[in-house]
Amino acid sequence: MRPFLQFLGTRLLRALVAVWLVSTVVFGVMRLSGDPVPLLLPPDAPRSEYARVAAELGLDRPLPVQYVIFLGNTLRGDFGRSLHFRAPAMEVVAGYLPATLELGLTSFAIAVIVAVPVGLLSAVKRNSLLDQSAMAVALVGQSAPTFFLGILFILLFSLKAGWLPTSGRGTLAHLVLPALTLGAFAMASIARLTRSAVLEVLRQDYVRTARAKGLAEWLVVAKHTLKNAAVPIVTITGLQFGGLLGGAVVTETVFAWPGIGRLAIQSIYSRDYPIVQAVVFLSALLFIVINLAVDVVYGLLDPRIRPR
């Protein structure tokens, strides 16, 4: 247990460093954005009013002091008030989060449910027509730009075929195209990796032994292969889940899905920086927590990687 705790401690420390770096970059970017005070005031406001608002925001303090205050506020999830929504930024973002989680979890579930069996079948029936066509589709899926995939889906399945709605959130039908679009890259990557992981295991001596002792092929695959191929599959799966967050910005914009990604883009246009910061920080935090969880699962699955 000791080496495992040590492993966990290292990862936790790294995650904390990452969170700190992200917040520092957010602070830096915020300072680069120039003076936010004029945005908050009417154009004809007197100088005394300007000074009052600057003091209220703490902008009259030296930069290092501002940085420390910022870090403190960040720890409490306080990114200031949204100029557009007239509410605390974090509260606004939290209101949009469920839509993003719904979309993210659905696409992730679809990706895993489709990709793992396809990858497994591709490996077992190596070089068959199924294998070749699945891997060709996966290759395209892995390099296709998310935004264009979404546009293609809308064109083909909504506008031409008329099967599914083009945008918005509501019924289950609304969820299908965005989830497929967002999940495409993860699906392709997981399918390809599952295939190569299973192929790798099928080459091992213990699989040959299992076959030699006359075990049925499906049992060889089910009992001896899947469990051993699980480590790389879980790793890439977790990483892909983190990556979905980045894709959500694009997918939500294409499908007018009311989540935090679309909120971020809209807030950029309306120069509502507190919201942008809150989204960037929250996504980074989610991403880091997920990666940490993956590392823990990874450590539990494979005793060999625990030391270090």
């Binding site: 790294r14 730009p145 264009f148 980045g246 910061q277 996504s283």
Partner: protein, 304 residues
Amino acid sequence: MASSIPASVPADGTAIADAAEARAGRGARRTRRLVAAGGAFVALLAVVALAAPWLAPQDPVRQSLRARLAAPTLEAVDGKAHLLGTDHLGRDVLSRVIWGARVSLLVGFAAVGVGGIVGAGLGLLAGYRGGWADTVIMTVADAQLAFPFVLLAIGIIAVLGPSFPTLIVVIGLSGWVAYARVLRSQVLVLRSREFVDAIQALGGSVPRIVGRHIVPNVLSSLVVIATLELARAVVLEATLSFLGLGIQPPTPSWGGMVQEGREYLDTAWWISTCPGLILMLTSVAVSRTGDWLRDLLDPTLRGE
């Protein structure tokens, strides 16, 4: 462990390539043909991008109200033929796709240059110097990998305002980690090799060792990563332009064109679809070429 002389030095790809070909057997010829097609596509695209002013049938930003939303046709509309139709402002889609290739590749190559120089430089430094430089560089690299950089890129561009240099630097820096990690681990191995000790003993300076002996040995990995990064950079530029954060209108860019055609998807599908399909083809062709180069030159990168 009497023999410490490796069968093949890392820079020598031929022995590995031969083995790979022998192993691949009958699939090899098909793969080679596919790769050749991909490579030819990329080369063609580069030529088109360079020769855009001469190749494009029309001015990519010239608007024509009478030729708005014309479908792809060989016949002349408003006195001009529009092979891929026109957009909502009557601009020729084919000409815009051709000029868009220029923007796409320009930003792509420049970003790969920025990322490659920064990443390779830091990777060499971390691997060769070790110590605190190594610790700092790798901590930052880990941190960058630990969150979705695309989001941060969007934030940075939103604040600084979209421009060519900002776009190139942001896209470039989003990819430096890939070079740094691979180069660091390779340099670590190379540095402990006897030929480096020998040159040191003979009084070779550090720049000489790095420039003449380390860099040539990691060049093949660098080429592989750069190719894979090019595909990523081109797609990222298009994505940012699609979101309105990249290349600004009226300059034609593939991502921007897809965005402009969105509203007319139902009636004028060609505006979005043409640039989108070319972008998709480019991305597949470049990343396939990269995959193939990797298997050929440097099978050790597979796990990355």
